[in-house]
Amino acid sequence: MISFQNVSKRYPGGVHALNDISFELGRGEMAFLTGRSGAGKSTLLKLIALLERPSRGQVLFEGRNVGKLARRQIPYLRRRIGVIFQDHRMLSDKRVFDNVALPLMIAGVSFGDIKRRVRAALDKVGLLDKEKMYPPMLSGGEQQRVGIARAIIARPPVLLADEPTGNLDPALSAELMDTFLQLNQSGVTVLIASHDLELIKRLGQRVLVLDDGRIVDDVGRRGGPGSGDSDG
């Protein structure tokens, strides 16, 4: 599904965010990306959704080199990837409902369908009663869950999350991870950047460890999609 081949990312000014990264994430797989802050987790996620382009190497998404994608093709790639941001990226002057509905409006889905699917997604993250509120009226955890609802509403095959539990209490974090597990069980490929090692260990999924722009460990790699063995 996602494949990094000797990928480096250097920002102007000579900062090496990623250095010769290679790994593969199969269809339907779930993995965590961990490491200290500044290790390059966010950059790695950004390269997949083409928020950044690699300086060297190739990032393949569904077998296609995203670095070679024409500008006007980028939106269609992004529609196949749900992204959850650490800072939520909500539109503060739009209601929760409209925020979640945005990907469907862009796709041109009929309003009846939008209504039904937004309700279903909000129900899934337990925020159905907040649909008429504005994001600033919600707590950080609630905003994070609105972000998840927006990321999954268009049923993308891949879900990327950048520190989704960043400012949540442990109980909420565990609940949120359950949501990700459920999504993964329904066939969605999930990659989560997080430094919450306790939580990650408990879930027993594959873990990629980044340090200073390199992958220093790849724990619990499954044989392929569907096989349940794990040794992490």
């Binding site: 959704a49 928020l51 500008r71 006007r72 939106p75 269609y76 790639l77 992004r78 529609r79 992204v83 941001f85 990226r89 909500m90 539109l91 945005l102 990907p103 469907l104 409006m105 862009i106 796709a107 041109g108 889905v109 009929s110 309003f111 369908d113 927006r150 268009a154 049923r155």
Partner: protein, 314 residues
């Protein structure tokens, strides 16, 4: 595979209906952003309206003056100077003959004595005939032309008459007026072009600020897979609305101005003893002004948005 195809249809990314829905979304979104800052929107619309109304008003004024000038031309007379030495019966014969010409509305003979009296009155002198032993003035026929007369042909025909010495046409002031309206007409066009560019710039600038204010929204839309066209569209609609509303407001201002002027113009006409009515703009002109305003609004928005979105680079 079948399932994949169904999902695609479900998400509605293809087809005319999805396209229509996306446009409806952009349209509502643009109206929403106009309504969010009503005062700022109104000011932009007002500036556009002034810019459109100015050349339109000038055009209307010239149109009305030209029409009035046509009427004045008809009222104009020719002065036909007859040969020295023609006698009263000769003058009478010529007068009655000319009166039968279809091109001639009236003939008014002025004797040398009358001419001299008028001259001395105009010069503010004592009766000039006291100073002159002999009246040097000829008989003059004031010929009033019928409407739609070919003036040049008539003058030629009059000059062909052996009793006619010369024909004087005092049309110089009309020619000057004509030339002046021509100049002002050109000016109106120049003004229209300049102000149309002004409309594009004003609306473009408004849209530019709008893009800046909604930078976050644009970025988020791009993040969740909005195409550049989709992001651009609400702004283009906004530009179109600004132009359209500005054009309509300009028309309303012109209509109000015409109503306010109708009364004084009618009174002015009465002093000339003939009804004068201000004519409004022709429907084609209104359509061109309002449509052109909308078009230039769209153009300005397009320029601003393309420039600016490239810089944001979502």
């Amino acid at each position: 595979m079948a399932r994949a195809r169904r999902t695609l249809r479900e998400t509605g990314t293809t087809g005319v209906r999805a396209w229509t829905r996306r446009h409806a979304f952009s349209l509502l979104s643009s109206l929403g952003s106009l309504a969010r800052y009503p005062l700022a929107s109104l000011m932009t619309v007002a500036v556009v309206a002034f810019a459109i109304a100015m050349p339109l008003a000038l055009h209307l004024a010239l149109d009305n003056i030209e029409r009035a000038a046509k009427q004045w031309e008809r009222l104009d007379t020719l002065s036909v100077f007859l040969e020295i030495g023609i006698d009263q019966p000769g003058v009478d014969r010529l007068t009655s003959r000319l009166s039968t010409w279809p091109a001639v509305l009236a003939v008014d003979p002025i004797s040398p004595q009358q001419g001299l009296d008028e001259l001395s009155r105009q010069l503010g002198l004592e009766p000039v005939d006291d100073l002159l032993a002999d009246n040097p003035l000829p008989w003059v026929l004031e010929v009033t032309l019928a409407a739609g007369t070919d003036r040049a042909a008539l003058i030629q025909r009059l000059q062909a008459n052996e009793r006619v010495d010369s024909v004087l046409v005092d049309l110089r002031w009309l020619e000057r007026l004509d030339a002046m309206t021509d100049v002002l007409g050109q000016l109106a066009w120049l003004l229209a072009v300049l102000l149309a560019a002004g409309v594009a710039v004003v609306i473009g600038n408004t849209i530019r600020l709008d893009v800046q204010n909604r930078r976050e929204e644009i970025e988020v839309m791009a993040l969740v897979g909005a195409t550049a066209a989709f992001i651009r569209r609400p702004f283009l609609y906004s530009g179109l609305w600004y132009g359209l509303l500005g054009g309509l407001l300009a028309w309303a201002m012109i209509a109000a101005g015409l109503m306010a002027l109708a009364e004084p113009v009618a009174r002015l006409g009465q002093t000339y003893g003939e009804p004068v009515r201000l004519l409004g703009p022709a429907p084609a002109i209104v359509v061109a002004a309002v449509g052109g305003s909308a078009l230039f609004g769209l153009l300005g928005a397009w320029l601003a948005v393309s420039q600016h979105l490239r810089r944001i680079d979502p």
